[in-house]
Amino acid sequence: VRFLEEFTIQNILIEFNGHGMYIALYCAALIYILLSKKTRDKYLFFYPAVILLFTVFNPFIAPLFMYVGRQDATYYRFFWALPIVILLAYVITQLIKRSDGKRKRTVVCISCAVVIVICGVFIGRNTAFYLPETTYKVPSSLLQLSEFIHGDKEKQGRESDTVMVGPDEIILNMRLYDASLKTPYGRNEIIGLTQVGGEEGIAALLRFFSKREKVSADILAVAIEQSNINYMVLPTDSPYAEILINAGGEFIVQIGEYELYRNLRE
């Protein structure tokens, strides 16, 4: 019952529609198709939308479908079955095509563009696009860290797997670029999807490196030893570098905004 209360089709629709008006435009386009004389368009766009409305988007059936299909977290994907972009593009092209004369056509084009701009949301808005530093689209400091760790490993003559720990952005991005480096915990632990209990071990590492909290050097040293960590990364502005040194970390090099430490007690 709690499930049915939490996941309603209305909530998902509001979430999917977000800040725009595309769903409203889509409905308007459906009315246009209904009023048009083309039977083909009705079969392609109107009737399928009606079927979907009475099945997967039916407020009474949808919650049950979500539960049985175990698709509650990804239910928004059923909205992809509505050909919103294709129908809007088709109706707009149709409107432009039907308008006679250059002047009328220009007016229709401009009007449609204005409607799209007003009802839509530009892709660059609220989207964290960035100009990448490298062709791999990861920070250059990450590439340098990886290269330095491998060089140092070779110098040390170590053949076992290399385990490293550091700030979240390093932990998450490093394995995209260099899968030979292992980490003691992953994204699930960082975002809390996998709960890590207690104060020691992985929990201590998470508190120190991910949440950037103060942890006693003794607890940190044990956690580093338990997870067989070879290298630690700290941001240069971290106030806890001394704790890491006391826990057995030896400063090796500064790369960009990060400091690399080697585990002396390994």
């Binding site: 009737y47 994907r77 989207t127």
Partner: protein, 352 residues
């Protein structure tokens, strides 16, 4: 710069492979234009890959074994395709210049619009949380020479195979392609795949436009331009297909939203035109066959989308064969749904 040049070369080779696969079955799928051959080739290549890679994932074979097996099959298919279609290829290459010359001016505007979309996707970076799984999974499989046996987040061995991800073999096929070309997975997912998929998405729009505005390429080009504008302003929320197109194009779910569903609409148009003809149904079967390899959501979304089209047509046209053909097309999805339920109920477990 070398990385970019090499990535573009890989794109060209992949484009040739996909075209060869499309040409190989063009007799059955009745794909005549280079665009429809490309679309069918994409579906056929990934269907074949799925059937080669999935048993290897479940039997815990190495990435190298899977890579060699798929390479042999691909090589044979490409050679066969070239031999079978050599005359057509010669004529097409001869006609290509004329064909491009004949294209209206608006075609070049549409090409520029497609190029603009590619620039957005390739030149800008976007960090998506799911990339930390999918791309890391590719890097991990390449490093460990395994298929889905390691946790991509940490690099530790899994206790049991995560079938939810393992059944969708798209990431492993991508790893195999990276292995073929010695290409870094980050370059593949952030340069190669976006270029191919943006091209594919627009080719699908062009084909839809050609079918909605028959015998009028000009309006098909206008259709592409309008679709592009609608997509660029389709950032209402993080769930829209347009948002996925520009930010998460290389992920299986984005392929479902931006490639598979539009292809489904395209094939539905063809089915509406010639529902007694087998070719559009063969195309549709290829779509449902390859659909599940990109994301498991396909096993629900594709049947719903196809059903919403076929049921009214079967009723309106009083044609039961539409339902029969639809059910045949949905067999791959039904099999995947059964496997999925057996897995989540704990009846199927593959220990590592």
């Amino acid at each position: 710069v070398l990385n970019i040049i090499y990535s573009i070369l890989v794109c060209i080779v992949l484009f040739i492979i996909l075209l060869s696969f499309g040409a190989l079955v063009s007799r059955f799928t009745l794909s005549h234009s280079i665009f429809s051959v490309f679309i069918v080739g994409f579906l056929f290549f990934f269907s074949i890959s799925h059937f080669i890679v999935l048993p290897m994932v479940l039997t815990k074979q190495t990435l190298l074994t899977a890579s060699i097996s798929l390479l042999i099959v691909t090589f044979i298919c490409v050679i066969f395709s070239i031999i079978l279609n050599r005359k057509k290829l010669y004529i097409s290459l001869k006609k290509l210049k004329q064909y491009i010359k004949k294209m209206p001016k608006i075609f070049y505007v549409a090409t520029a619009v497609v190029a603009f979309q590619m620039i957005i996707v390739v030149c800008f970076g976007y960090n998506d949380a799911d990339d930390y799984y999918y791309t890391a999974e590719m890097s991990t499989s390449l490093h460990t020479d395994t298929l889905n046996l390691y946790d991509p987040y940490t690099g530790n061995v899994l206790s049991t195979l995560n079938l939810r991800y393992a059944v969708a073999t798209f990431t492993m096929v991508c790893s195999i392609i990276c292995k073929w070309f010695s290409l870094h997975p980050l370059l593949f997912t952030r340069i190669v795949l976006p270029i191919i998929l943006i091209m594919l998405v627009n080719v699908i729009y062009f084909e839809i436009g050609k079918n909605l505005f028959p015998k009028n390429v000009e309006w098909a080009c206008v259709f592409i331009i309008v679709a592009c504008v609608v997509n660029i302003f389709g950032n209402q929320s993080i769930y829209t297909s347009s948002r996925f197109l520009f930010t998460r194009i290389a992920q299986g779910k984005s392929i479902l939203a931006n490639v598979l569903i539009p292809i489904l609409i395209l094939f539905c148009i063809k089915i509406y035109k010639k529902r007694s003809n087998r070719a559009p149904w063969i195309n549709m079967f290829l779509l449902t066959l390859s659909g599940n390899m990109f994301t498991l959501s396909s096993m629900f979304v594709i049947p719903i989308a196809l059903g919403s089209f076929c049921v009214p047509m079967a009723i309106g046209k009083r044609d039961v064969s539409v339902i029969r053909n639809m059910l045949i097309c949905l067999i791959p999805c039904i099999v995947t749904i059964i496997l999925y339920y057996l897995h989540i109920s704990g009846l199927i477990m593959v220990s590592v």
